[in-house]
């Protein structure tokens, strides 16, 4: 169980690092929210251990790392975590493609929230480019699942 817990925190750390690793300018807007995908995955597979507190903390650290309004990503992660938690019993049954579609909706919800809060705090950027991570994240979902499954199997 300890190994499992370690895995959650380690993957949070990796997701956060990948959120700020410098990418070439053309690739930067496409950057998928790996921390969020990892969070969704863990809430789906082991909601008793990785729950809302885990989701919220991930988001809060992301806020600090990127110098955003404190609580912005935290709220986004929390909402996505909650919805995922509500959907988990159904989502587990879905084939991977259908899961990816649901994940895309979750990412859309997340980015809509971010967009909304950005607007409220006066940082609004309205270009279509800001919705690219929704697509790139959904495309990456099967990979996240494959990686996560192999890791959890090894750690248990």
């Amino acid at each position: 169980m300890l190994a499992r817990r370690l895995l959650y925190w380690a993957s949070m750390a990796v997701g956060l690092v990948l959120a700020i690793v410098p990418l070439p300018a053309w690739l930067d807007p496409v950057r998928p929210d790996l921390a969020l995908l990892a969070m969704i995955y863990f809430v789906l597979t082991s909601p008793r251990i990785a729950g809302l507190g885990y989701a919220w903390l991930s988001g809060l650290f992301l806020d600090v790392l990127r110098g955003m309004v404190l609580g912005q990503h935290a709220l986004g992660f929390l909402v996505v975590g909650y919805v995922t938690h509500k959907l988990q019993l159904r989502m587990r049954m879905f084939p991977i493609v259908q899961q990816a579609v649901i994940v895309m909706m979750l990412l859309g919800l997340y980015h809509f929230l971010m967009f909304w809060i950005d607007g409220l705090t006066g940082h609004g950027f309205t270009g279509w480019v800001r919705w690219l991570p929704v697509v790139s994240g959904a495309l990456l979902w099967p990979l996240v699942v494959a990686l996560g499954d192999s890791l959890t199997r090894r750690s248990s």
């Binding site: 750390a13 956060l16 690092v17 700020i20 690793v21 410098p22 990418l23 300018a25 930067d28 807007p29 950057r31 995955y41 789906l44 597979t45 082991s46 909601p47 008793r48 251990i49 729950g51 809302l52 507190g53 919220w56 988001g59 809060l60 650290f61 600090v64 790392l65 990127r66 110098g67 955003m68 309004v69 404190l70 609580g71 912005q72 935290a74 709220l75 929390l78 909402v79 909650y82 938690h85 988990q88 019993l89 989502m91 587990r92 991977i96 899961q99 809060i117 705090t121 006066g122 940082h123 950027f125 270009g127 480019v129 800001r130 699942v145 996560g148 499954d149 959890t152 248990s156």
Partner: protein, 327 residues
């Protein structure tokens, strides 16, 4: 396929009720956001969280710095020789200009002393490295490796070798976040070097473009004009290059469409200069004298607020480049 690796069926008495938990955390998030926008006290929370994530930022930066170092250490001899020759030539040229400059500076200082005005001369500079960390693709911010412990304060001017780079927007103990002049939320008062026309250069969100929205059709601005900082508002030292006018279109009836290209290397700079200078005294006999040189954060922010720009400037100049201006 996602597997059920841990039982999650609700069993009475296990774990806190999910929805209550959700709403508590959501309320905390909203409270944090409001506090972050409105109150200062939140900076302490951010500060302590920053010290937790600082190692992460350092860790991300490290491999890039290491590759730089390796590339530098193993540069081949011919290239080094070439660089050396070039730099020597440039240094000779610069020294030549500096000889003249020393005389001019002395003369300038004497003249300014006569008017009891030594404002705008950089008193202290500190070299800071830009950490290799991507903050947000849609905001032009960078993270520096110097913070409050080095005396960096909010609103401090940041320059690179070619001109004005930006200003400090957030400070923690060991890092500081800089908003670039090209950020869409940034504005800087400028003056044309050729004609003396004063206006404001606003960031566009494009690193190669500033926009000058308050230039009338009649005003004397041409392509190629160098725009210098005026020092109004007390954030930036006066007389440093900001941008070069790249496009002037006088199509409308009142305002011309003017764009300028920043002289500073906003996308390529690796190291920048943090500048301490005496806040400029306004060129107006009626204006109150500017406060003393900003040594620490408190002095600097009050000094910035107390400096009153002259009435001749268009209204937006009174709020030059306050990051997070929504407060």
């Amino acid at each position: 396929m996602v597997e059920l690796t841990h039982d999650s069926r609700p069993i009475i008495g296990r774990g806190p009720p999910l929805t209550a938990y959700f709403f508590t955390l959501a309320a905390i998030s909203v409270a944090l956001m409001v506090a972050d926008q409105r109150y200062r006290q939140i900076d302490r929370i951010r500060e302590s969280l920053s010290s937790v994530v600082y190692p992460v930022q350092r860790a991300v930066d490290l491999p890039f710095r290491a590759t730089d170092w390796v590339a530098g250490s193993f540069a081949d001899r011919s290239r080094l020789r070439q660089d050396n020759l070039e730099l020597t030539a440039r240094l000779r040229l610069a020294n030549l200009q500096l000889q003249r400059f020393a005389v001019l500076e002395e003369e300038n200082r004497r003249l300014r002393d006569m008017r009891e005005n030594t404002a705008g001369i950089a008193e202290k500079v500190l070299v800071a490295a830009i950490l290799n960390v991507d903050l947000d693709p849609f905001r032009h911010r960078v993270l520096l490796d110097k913070g409050a412990t080095d005396g960096v304060f909010k609103g401090q001017a940041v320059l690179d070798g070619d001109g004005i780079f930006g200003q400090v927007a957030k400070v923690t103990s060991s890092t500081s976040e800089v908003i670039l002049i090209s950020d869409a939320e940034h504005a800087i008062p400028v003056q044309s070097n050729r004609s003396g026309v004063r206006t404001i250069a606003v960031g566009t969100g494009d690193q190669n473009k500033l926009s000058l929205p308050f230039v009338t059709v009649e005003s004397d601005l041409q392509e190629g004009d160098l725009l210098l900082s005026t020092g109004m508002g007390g954030v930036f030292p006066p007389g440093y290059p900001v941008a070069k006018v790249s496009k002037v279109r006088r199509a409308g009836s009142t305002f011309a469409l003017v764009e300028a290209r920043p002289t500073a290397q906003l996308d390529r700079a690796r190291e920048v200069l943090l500048v301490w200078f005496k806040a400029p005294v306004v060129d107006n006999a009626l204006a109150p004298p500017a406060p003393a040189a900003p040594d620490d954060a408190e002095n600097a922010t009050t000094g910035q607020a107390a400096t009153t720009p002259p009435a001749a400037v268009p209204a937006p100049a009174t709020v030059p480049a306050a990051p997070g201006g929504g407060e």
